[in-house]
């Protein structure tokens, strides 16, 4: 285990930026609270993406300019947002028809751990005195077409978050497709973690040392 080096790899903003590059034109996307939310502002120009928030809005826009907005127009993080032209409001059961029914193309979520088989843990530390709270995370991973994760490669203590098997309670088994960390972009392939791209100034060995399971290079699949 090595301690995190602040100067190496992508910043949080750059991680969001990198994830944004993979959001396809015309896709329907649900962004988790926190860093994933920031993906929206980095989607390359020329692409039109429609954002879903599970509390009942398709066509979510950015936060309102001033501190004003409408306290009844909020996102899943309960912060005020706007609605873009072409938006629609609906109730919670209809909102999860979109999620569970496989209509959302992409979601981007945070993670506590991801296993090499794509298991995601992002809702609970499993500590007995913690207040459990799951929200819509389990529904998203069960229903969305492509589940992507943005996370630091290691914890604050330097422990790997990409592991052979999650020690924290699962959000869902075998659900993650791609991971964006500060060090690399990694897919869940048929044989586990598979390097897609390295952050600038980071080499393969550096990432492998900080990954808690084997990491494969697929020829020609990264640079």
């Amino acid at each position: 285990m090595t301690s995190p080096e602040e100067s190496v790899g992508w910043s949080r903003e750059e991680m969001a930026q990198r994830a944004a590059r993979d959001i396809e034109n015309g896709s329907y996307v649900n962004l988790g609270i926190g860093i994933p939310e920031r993906v929206a502002k980095y989607v390359p120009e020329g692409r039109e993406v429609i954002y879903h928030t599970e509390n009942g809005l398709l066509g979510m826009g950015p936060a309102p300019e001033s501190d004003e907005g409408d306290p009844e127009l909020i996102n899943a993080g309960k912060r005020r947002v706007t609605a873009v032209p072409g938006a629609s409001y609906f109730h919670h059961a209809d909102s999860f028809v979109m999620i569970r029914g496989g209509h959302i193309d992409v979601c981007v979520l945070g993670a506590m751990q991801v296993s090499e088989s794509g298991d995601l843990a992002n809702w609970s530390t499993g500590e007995p005195d913690a207040v459990p709270a799951v929200g819509g995370a389990m529904d998203l991973v069960a229903g969305v077409g492509s589940v992507r994760v943005i996370t630091q490669h290691c914890t604050k203590n330097g422990d790997p978050k990409l592991v052979e098997a999650c020690s924290f309670p699962l959000t869902g088994p075998a659900v993650v497709n791609r991971i964006y960390t500060d060090l690399a972009v990694i897919d869940i392939g048929p044989e586990g973690f598979q390097l897609v791209e390295l952050a600038p100034g980071v080499d393969f060995e550096y990432v492998r040392e900080r990954t808690g399971a084997s990491l494969a290079i697929i020829d020609g699949h990264w640079r």
Binding site: N55, L73, K78, H92, A93, G135, A142
Partner: protein
């Protein structure tokens, strides 16, 4: 002649008895029927089971109802909030029971309850600790768990416009759980900022048809939870 309007929130919730199951609309503050919740606090019914996506914030509205000790069980997807320590304290002290339900399953269970569907299968929670105690079954090669429909004695919801037949429309993301809770409760009480004459709501845009609503009560300038919390207000 059909007139479901009642004069005050107090009268609208007067018959909620001890031990009742009460669905309360809202996702965070959007759609939260604060005035009805406060009337329920004043009324004092105890041993309630409350269904809501969250556990409130500050010490007003839902959080105040929890703090009052009237709620013995909360059915909920996300009982954490930046702005409140009420639920965590009750929970750690073992003074409230929590049934944690994923948000989409919560919504679908309520919708099923209102639709006369006693149970359905969903992929959500398969392979997680929240699957425990549920029946698992395979359809077309994929695993699902069985979930039960959820009904309640009362639903307290908030909308923007209502008529005296109980037809409702909502404001933006305040719609959330209101329309489905209205279908799943024996008695549905809606607070509306505006009550309009029957016929004024376009039949194409009514979100909750009056058949699902038993009482409407006008609350002309409903409080916003975030304002109350920002001002440090505590109810009662």
């Amino acid at each position: 002649m059909i007139d479901k309007q009642v004069p005050t929130p107090a009268e609208a919730v007067a018959d909620i008895g001890d031990g009742a199951a009460v669905m309360i609309g809202g996702f965070g503050e959007a759609g939260s029927p604060i005035e009805l919740i406060h009337a329920l606090i004043d009324q004092g019914a105890s041993g309630l089971t409350v269904v809501n996506n969250n556990a409130g914030s500050g010490e007003v509205g839902l959080a105040a109802l929890l703090k009052s000790g009237q709620v013995s069980k909360l059915i909920c997807s996300f009982p954490k909030s930046a702005g409140s320590s009420v639920f965590p304290e009750l929970y750690r002290d073992g003074r409230i029971e929590l049934e944690l339900v994923p948000q989409g399953t919560l919504a679908e269970r309520i919708r099923a309850g209102g639709a006369g569907i006693p149970a359905f299968f969903t992929p959500t929670t398969v392979g997680t600790s929240l699957e425990e105690g549920k029946e698992r079954r395979t359809f077309d090669g994929r695993d699902y768990v069985m979930e039960l429909g959820l009904t309640a004695d009362f639903a307290l919801i908030r909308c923007s416009h209502a008529d005296c037949h109980g037809n409702l429309v909502y404001n933006k993301t305040a719609r959330n759980f209101g329309p489905i809770m209205a279908t799943a409760a024996s008695t549905t009480v809606a607070q509306a900022a505006n009550i309009v004459v029957v016929g004024e709501l376009d039949p194409e845009v009514v979100v909750t048809p009056g058949i699902f609503v038993d009482r409407v009560v006008q609350v002309e300038n409903p409080a916003h939870e975030s304002d109350l919390v920002a001002r440090g207000e505590v109810y009662p």
